[in-house]
Amino acid sequence: MTTTVVTPLSAISLAEGAPVIEAASADGVFSLLWLIIALPALGAAILLLGGRRTDAWGHLLGVATVAGSFALSLLAFLALLGRDAEDRSVGQTLYSWIEAGPFTVDLALLYDPLSALFLLLITGVGGIIHVYSIGYMEHDARRRRFFGYLNLFVAAMLVLVLADNYLVLFLGWEGVGLASYLLIGFWQHKPSAAAAAKKAFVVNRVGDIGMALGVMLAFATFGTVGFAEISAVAGEASDGVLTALGLLFLLAAAGKSAQVPLQSWLLDAMEGPTPVSALIHAATMVTAGVYLVVRSNFIYEAAPVAQTAVVIVGAVTLLWGAIIGTAKDDIKKALAGSTMSQIGYMMLAAGLGVAGYAFAIFHLLTHGFFKANMFLGAGSVMHAMDDDVDMRHYGALQKMLPVTFLTFAMGYLAIIGFPGFSGFWSKDKIIEAAFGENLVVGLAALLGAGITAFYMTRLMLMTFFGEKRWSEDVHPHESPKVMTVPLIVLAALSVLGGAMLLGNWVVEWLEPTVGHAEHHELAVSPLVMTLIVTVVVAVGVALAWVLVGKREVPRVAPANVSVFTRAARADLYGDALNEGLFMRPGDRFVGDLTRFDDHGVDGAVNGTAAAFGGMSGVFRRWQNGFVRSYALSLLAGAVLLLAVLLAVNLA
């Protein structure tokens, strides 16, 4: 069943596997590339520096800047469509950023088919989330600041995907980390939100170590950090260096994309306002890791060990997230588990090499649509339920919130892979590619699809169907138009997103960036494969119907549950593991250091001081104020001197 996805290191396969990036200089509409980043950055600057003066119209400016970026992205995309496949790489050098001897880094942009898709996703879905936020944050006194942060987030992500070298990418990478910190902790008056923001920041720092070391290693090896330059010479580096680079970038990607073992921040990040969750999970942030792996394809193609590691991380995460999703009662956390799982699919596909890159990006796009749709839908539900997130307090909401229900249902059908919906096409392709790589990996992906169907059906049933379980004082109501229209748009995209695969368009579109994949034959035909996946999904749905839909859902989560449920509720003990392995020993180590500092270092210094103090206390008693005793000591001294003189002279 295995195919030659991971090709051995040879010049020919490299040329096929990882295309060398050759960017033409930017002209026409492409000369405005910088403006795509500058608009949201300017918006953020105005909103954050302008203060209260911008309160009245701040949200409108926030939407307008992103909308402007989207319009420019669309123009650039159309212009790129009009070019030949070989010319679809445009570079724009803005200015020389760092110049230190042989080390020069330009602040330069690279616009190619991969960046183009990301730009559309970020500005498009991001823009829709901005519109939705107008309604969602309407009663928040700090809405203007919220939009400032959102703009900053989008701007940082755009820097990340438009960078033409690793250092500029790192700039955006850190910007995304900062913006996510600010947004997750937006309701900083809640200690849990402040803690979640800190956790996200710290865990991301761990990944950033990988990123920083990776960039340094790349520079030490190739003498440059540019994608184009490295892609031309990547094959010449030694296997060990390439593997190390791949693993370092994988660590970085795991941090940003919440992959095992750096997954723990994602669930806590639900403390942020819901639009933030949607933005983090759909358009920005978590997609950065997948982007990094796909962008670094010229490294991974030459480092099979690192590729295998990516596949393993992806496969483990997709099951890990899915299992967490099955046990959560918090609607946002269930969706967060699902994101983790879906990003796992993308990582898995990205690790498969040329056969998977395009499908990873394809799934990333469709996931961006349906996950943004569902998060905003969940926000709409919370809006109706007085910000209650416990699904056990929902039930029978489909009549009260018809628009939210219908749009959410589109997202639901897309994510479980109901035939015809966008997720069906993208996930199916990944599972197919996974089976092409390895039976175990394929089975993991297949199992993940089944679990996904289970937990999403459970979520649907608990939220929209069954008996109503709300408390008396809650009066669910449909959200205003400014929130439902974005939902409808996203629902449409969730349904139709699969159209990108028409005529294999997305694969051919990405070919100049990620290379051409040989078609590989499976043991069974694709149709049978699809049928198997659909059956597994159907089993998952049926299981959820039997276990959740047909039974009464208790208002309080039952405490007497199996050990598996308990493990899933505790995020598979990911936090406990971090705590036991890193936090507590670190705590102890720091505690010991503090004690050493307090007693050892301070003891030596303070002890010396105390000794001198004590001695002075003794010696000063000699100054007793009696003149005659001074006279006596004077005499004694004189006699002593005399005795010494005599002794010396007589000796």
């Binding site: 000063r620 104020g625 005499l635």
Partner: protein
């Protein structure tokens, strides 16, 4: 004429003065004892001057006398001032300047 009796007298006077300084409390007596020690020293200086046959010792004795006179002026003034304020000439009473 032997110089020994002079030196012995000088030593006796110095010792009386020293013991007086250490044992008496009255500031005036103390003062007189200090003068006695100075003069004992003067006697020794003059004696040695004669023994060695030069004038160095005698010149020094004059210096000592001048310094002693100046010292007496300042010292008596201090003692009188202290007596006026504290109604006591005991040196043990004037023990404020201490640890």
């Amino acid at each position: 004429m032997s110089e020994t009796p002079f030196l012995v007298l000088s030593a006796i006077l110095f010792t009386i003065g020293a013991v007086g300084v250490l044992t008496r409390r009255n500031a005036l007596v103390l003062f007189m004892c200090v003068e006695m020690m100075l003069n004992a020293t003067n006697l020794a200086l003059v004696t040695f001057s004669r023994v060695h046959g030069n004038l160095d010792g005698q010149v020094t004795a004059f210096f000592v006398m001048v310094v002693a006179a100046a010292e007496v002026v300042v010292g008596l003034a201090i003692i009188v001032t202290i007596f006026r304020t504290r109604r006591s000439a005991s040196v043990d009473d004037a023990s404020l300047l201490k640890y």
